[in-house]
């Protein structure tokens, strides 16, 4: 559990209009956590793609189903849990969108973008309990950032 974390929780009805609500909350949380604008945008996009997956693929756009977002702000990272009421999927079986034969595919880039923009991405699917994805972005403070050599 997140004993040493600040927690923000949001419950959304499965309506694509709520994706922008999720983005707004994400921007506020990631700003509060101390991420710069570039990282805020990456986190925002990763949540956007995850919430769309939850609403569209997980809950099949059924407004009676919900998506739960839980933001856990730690000193060194932000963990975001996004849970739906769908049947789950195995991200290891998704085609690589960068392969030449997939480059002109219309779909299949969402999970790739999430992996690219976040430091960790996990999918936990349980039969009858929906799917939960966990996104982690580490905060690069002065102490954790790689040292830069400067000067002559």
């Amino acid at each position: 559990m997140a004993a040493d974390a600040s927690v923000v929780e949001v419950v959304l009805e499965s309506d694509l209009k709520n994706v922008e609500v999720a983005e707004e909350v994400t921007r506020r949380v990631s700003s509060t956590a101390g991420f710069d604008e570039d990282d805020q945008h990456k986190i925002d996009m990763a949540v956007h793609e995850s919430v769309i997956n939850a609403i569209w693929h997980g809950n099949k756009n059924d407004p009676s189903k919900h998506v739960w977002l839980r933001f856990e702000i730690f000193r060194d990272r932000l963990e975001i849990h996004i849970r739906d009421q769908g049947n789950g999927y195995d991200p290891s079986h998704l085609p690589d969108p960068l392969l030449a034969e997939n480059l002109l595919n219309v779909s299949g880039r969402g999970i790739f973008l999430i992996r690219t923009f976040m430091d960790e991405f996990r999918v936990e699917s349980r039969a009858g309990q929906g799917t939960e994805v966990v996104l982690v972005k580490r905060l690069h403070t002065d102490n954790s950032a790689p040292s830069r050599r400067e000067g002559p």
């Binding site: 994706v19 956007h48 793609e49 480059l103 219309v106 880039r109 790739f112 690219t116």
Partner: protein, 119 residues
């Protein structure tokens, strides 16, 4: 804010000034219908001006790819103009930057259609 698009004709090129969000749902549907409509009118040289596109997601990128393929299959060309840094970075990450013909100058973009039509 959903997507908005205005269409203008410059010589043989149909320039589409897009703004707002190109995301799953309304934005992608609008873009798909707009391209279909222009092809239906016989306009096969399409230049999408993305200068004021504030947000594009994986579905929006997919819609650009779909438009590119559809227009190419009908013997036309779809090119991109004025990418924002975010859109530029997304196309780089997804390796699509080299697939699309991307321009920063509208006049040069327009003439690139004419050159390829003459070739």
């Amino acid at each position: 804010m959903s997507m908005k698009a205005t269409v203008r004709q410059v010589n043989s090129v149909t320039v589409v000034d897009m703004s707002g969000r190109v995301t799953l749902g309304e934005g992608c549907t609008q873009l798909r219908e707009l391209i279909r409509e222009q092809l239906g009118k016989g306009n096969k040289h399409l230049l999408l001006n993305l200068a004021d596109v504030t947000y594009i997601d994986s579905s929006g990128i997919g819609e650009l790819v779909s438009g590119f393929t559809t227009v190419s299959n009908q013997g036309g060309q779809l090119k991109l103009l004025n990418l924002t840094k975010k859109v530029h970075d997304l196309l780089q990450i997804t390796k699509l930057y080299t697939v699309f013909d991307v321009h920063e100058d509208e006049a040069k973009a327009i003439s690139s259609f004419e050159k390829s039509a003459k070739a």
